[in-house]
Symmetry: none
Subunit: 328 residues, 2 copies
């Protein structure tokens, strides 16, 4: 980087300062919102140029990102605008410092449930694993269980599997137990009579099931009927199932591998085979790798479980009952 001639400040890498429009793209917030959050709540106060233009630093952009996630998760911007970064992060992936049992000391451990699960999985102990999950379910609620325990656990298992700490047997075992627990945890009484149907599957070549299970459980607890098809199904099969079950939407989970040349073709075929009134959602760790394809076929990329929830809520309204919020 030859700025030798200039010679002024030797600041190693003077944080680049970004104008507001770039920040808008990077944070996913509109310019309006960034300014109004500053004006109303002093959420982020950037440096200014001599001519009074805003210049944001990288940490400030990250803060805006955090704020976007937190508000998307349902918190009020007015409440959280002044929180520290650490506190914001805590709200998102809350380490679940549950007051379980609530005796003794203020159990502070970062993620007790997660650790217990890992231990049980390593020992292939189904009874213990089930017990932990049930306790967690009653402490966290269905959505909490999914978002704060199962989703992180799923990521963790993926990593441990990739680096060899866990074998495929562990992964299969955990999948199987989770399948059982999630199948129950989220099944309340009767669905509303006209609940829309969601088909959940994994396209051909995608063998990991946990993501699909998460989607399925989440959708059920949001009041959808779910037709669960499991892993590695060809596009034609998925489309056929969607038609038979008159699904309002199809959700795919893409986890591994991230560079399957056949998958793009499968996705395109699926996009063509689905009736136009059926929405197509796709999420999972590998989803970003296929974002172009997904946009090309009019599919909705889903970034996380919270996003999934809002997307499903949106899909539920346009049709049928004017008031679409009936939970339970």
């Amino acid at each position: 980087m030859g700025r030798l001639n200039c010679g002024f400040f030797v600041e190693p890498m003077p944080d680049a300062q970004h104008p507001i429009q770039l920040v808008s793209r990077l944070s996913g917030l509109s310019v309006h919102v960034i300014r109004i959050w500053e004006q109303r709540y002093n959420a982020v106060e950037p440096r200014r140029t001599h001519s009074n233009r805003r210049l944001y630093t990288q940490p400030q952009i990250e803060r805006l990102n955090l704020l976007r996630e937190v508000t998307q998760a349902g918190y009020n911007i007015s409440q959280v605008a002044q929180f520290s970064e650490a506190r914001l992060r805590k709200l998102i992936d809350e380490p679940v410092a549950v007051s379980n049992g609530s005796f003794g000391g203020p159990s502070e451990a970062s993620a007790p449930f997660l650790d217990e699960c890992l231990v049980a999985i390593k020992a292939l102990d189904g009874l213990v694993l089930e017990d932990v999950l049930k306790r967690a379910a009653s402490a966290l609620g269905t959505q909490g269980l999914l978002q704060r325990l199962v989703a992180p656990l799923s990521h963790l298992l993926g990593e441990l599997w990739r680096d060899g700490s866990l074998t495929a047997a562990h992964e299969h075992f955990a999948t199987s137990v989770l399948r059982g627990v999630l199948g129950n945890a989220s099944k309340p009484f009767g669905l509303p009579a006209h609940a829309p149907t969601l088909v959940v599957a994994t396209p051909a070549g995608q063998l990991h099931e946990l993501g699909a299970l998460l989607v399925s459980a989440s959708a059920v607890s949001l009041g959808w009927r779910v037709t669960y098809l499991g892993t590695s199904l060809p596009a034609a099969e998925i489309a056929g199932a969607a038609q038979i079950s008159k699904a309002r939407a199809v959700a795919l989970s893409l986890v591994y591998p991230e560079d399957d040349p056949n998958l793009a073709g499968e996705l395109v075929r699926l996009g063509e085979a689905l009736p136009p009134e059926t929405a197509l959602l796709a999420g999972g760790r590998a989803m970003p790798a296929y974002r172009n394809v997904l946009e090309g076929i009019g599919a909705v990329p889903v970034d996380n479980l919270i996003h999934l929830g809002t997307t499903l809520d949106d899909l539920r309204k346009p049709r049928n009952t004017g008031h679409g919020k009936s939970k339970r």
Copy 2:
């Protein structure tokens, strides 16, 4: 503020406060219900903002979760609304007095159930399928359900799939629903403390899961701990899992294909890798095709579910003494 000697922790940050809509998502209760429970029964009384909006703390959310579970379990909200958290937890953990008519009549007709199942599977209707299976379970009892409905159904599905009447999607769908029902149906009681462990899996290349599910459910209802590993696992993985879980036996389900040249090798490797005191059982439609190999490695061919039951009973008694019996 020396907090060193005092020891009472200075709360570093006040508990984050959650607005009602977020609480609704986390608890699975509608906002209406949350409010009305407060108004009528003072179930949970949250703090308010200056503008009178409700703000819930994490413990309050957990309390709502408990209340939801308890009411879903059949208690009246008016009765339990004021209970302490500990008392609510007690209600949940208590057995629900299962009115299990497990003495299923001797010979209920199971053919109608079979037809109903097929119709539901063709329509991909999970609710109906579950309903049929539950009715069948209470009419036939657990073992009857397995031997007289699920096993024939499994065969039938295989045939219909081979001749093209059903697609892979149907098969996956049926597997998934059956998995859920079988997972529940067969584990009402706590296991005896020293129940032996059975590892259930399908060797690499064998993708059909229903047989393994049958074995698993059957074993559980016979009082075994089951470590269920699912489909298509390499021999080394299965052996490793058997060792970790100290299994007394390993059960394999072989269904399709019947002429996999690699499978014989897999079986041999598995036979070698298993510790000698661990028995190896194999059954399923394709089992006869590999009978030679199985005998060569000292595995026990299992012809049907009844045979499986007697075999397991035999294995459970000889408490791992001497090795006169080791079939390998």
